[in-house]
Symmetry: C2
Subunit: 246 residues, 2 copies
């Protein structure tokens, strides 16, 4: 039987979602270890998004195959009892055998958090990107408007080998709440590093060192070397993955 589940994690201690040789510190590895502790012999977890080292999730979606002879409601408790407290599974349910977290997904939503303050804030340092100087949020929002729609996002990330870089962005919005800035972006799928690359470049706009039309020009140029350095990982959270049946 195939199951799907939502996974939230604090990415601080992990080398990213995806299992890697030579380190047990990936989210996939701790999930598979939890499955093996509840009796799955060769556990294999598939995730919707391969988040990088230090990137967080509140709405990662995973699938795995197992036989669970008890009530479904007890499966998430059994998994959570075998997980460290920086990884939490919820909403475990039976899924169609064809359900694939990545291929079945129709959209993903990420949030990137930035905060602006005179001094860095120790309680935010693991979950947001600190800036000492004010950012022009209306300018960042205006520049973001060119992201909506289908574009070749080569300037902001790398597609898997042999595939194209066209992605369809359905939402790209900055929100300002005091000194807290959130950038929410939804797309059918994302290139590797795409959100962090876009945010890194939009922040240059917010600093007044790039105009909105220069930002639009970078998108149009399809040239990876034109983007600003990527924003650091700790500000990024995978918040939602949508499927066609939802």
């Amino acid at each position: 039987m195939r199951y799907r589940a939502t996974v939230a994690y604090d990415g601080t201690a992990y080398r990213g979602f995806q299992r890697q040789a030579n380190t047990p510190h990936t989210v996939q590895a701790v999930l598979e270890t939890a499955l093996s502790h509840i009796g799955v012999e060769s556990p294999s977890i598939i995730g919707a998004g391969r988040t990088d080292a230090g990137v967080h999730a509140t709405g990662q979606v995973v699938a795995f195959d197992m036989t669970w002879p008890h009530a479904i409601g007890s499966l998430d408790r059994a998994l959570n009892a075998n997980l460290p407290d920086d990884v939490v599974v919820s909403d475990v349910r039976e899924a169609d055998e064809r359900f694939h977290p990545r291929y079945s997904a129709v959209s993903r939503k990420y949030v990137y958090r930035v905060y602006v303050a005179e001094k860095p804030h120790p309680l935010r340092r693991l979950y947001a990107w600190y800036h000492a100087r004010p950012l022009d949020v209306p300018a960042m929002q205006a520049a973001s408007s060119v992201l909506a729609g289908s574009h070749d996002f080569t300037s902001f990330g790398s597609p898997p080998a042999g595939t194209n870089a066209v992605r369809t962005v359905s939402e790209a919005r900055w929100e300002e709440n005091g000194d807290d800035l959130h950038f929410a972006i939804r797309a059918n799928a994302f290139l590797y590093r795409m959100v962090r690359s876009i945010v890194g470049t939009l922040v240059v706009v917010g600093q007044g060192r790039m105009t909105g039309s220069e930002f639009a020009g970078i998108l149009a140029a399809c040239n990876r070397s034109l983007a600003a350095p990527s924003a650091p990982p700790q500000g990024l959270t995978l918040v939602e993955v949508q499927y066609v049946d939802e």
Copy 2:
């Protein structure tokens, strides 16, 4: 010359504020190490509040004596350059030689954070107390109203040896923001464990297992054995210390 400074810290990695034999993991120790790195020979930091292991601060106030031959504005940069990123100094200024962060303080304010959700949240686990079941916040707020004023708080904490347990609370208020609950409490001073003991007992009220008048009875009884177990440290933050000249 005596200086004062505001200190923010993530208490997660520390055994509390106060220096202890046999561990370098106190906030006081890392501050004194930073002072020694910028040339203070026998650095001695005095703090306004001796926060426990795991307790955070955004508004701790400290004082120290040193000779700083440069512009005052460069002293916090010099200190922060020698501090780990979970401790940040700000607002460094010259202080009267009689200024003492603890004795000169006229009030302290703490915030205790609780959140209620179906599952624990990995990104909040270090900064709030998780509850799976709803809490009756209006009942907790109503029960809190007896805290205001001067009372013997023996039921909720221990005074230093040879002193009394009378403290004057000027603010005690719950705020609810979605699934996020904040308890803000201000007093002239606090007993050891007082905020966590009060919160631990108020949550029992919120769970419907104690009435507001039973809570008032515990306060009036001056009997430390009547309080519920203390709330865990990670929900607590020292947010402000006030002085008479401010």
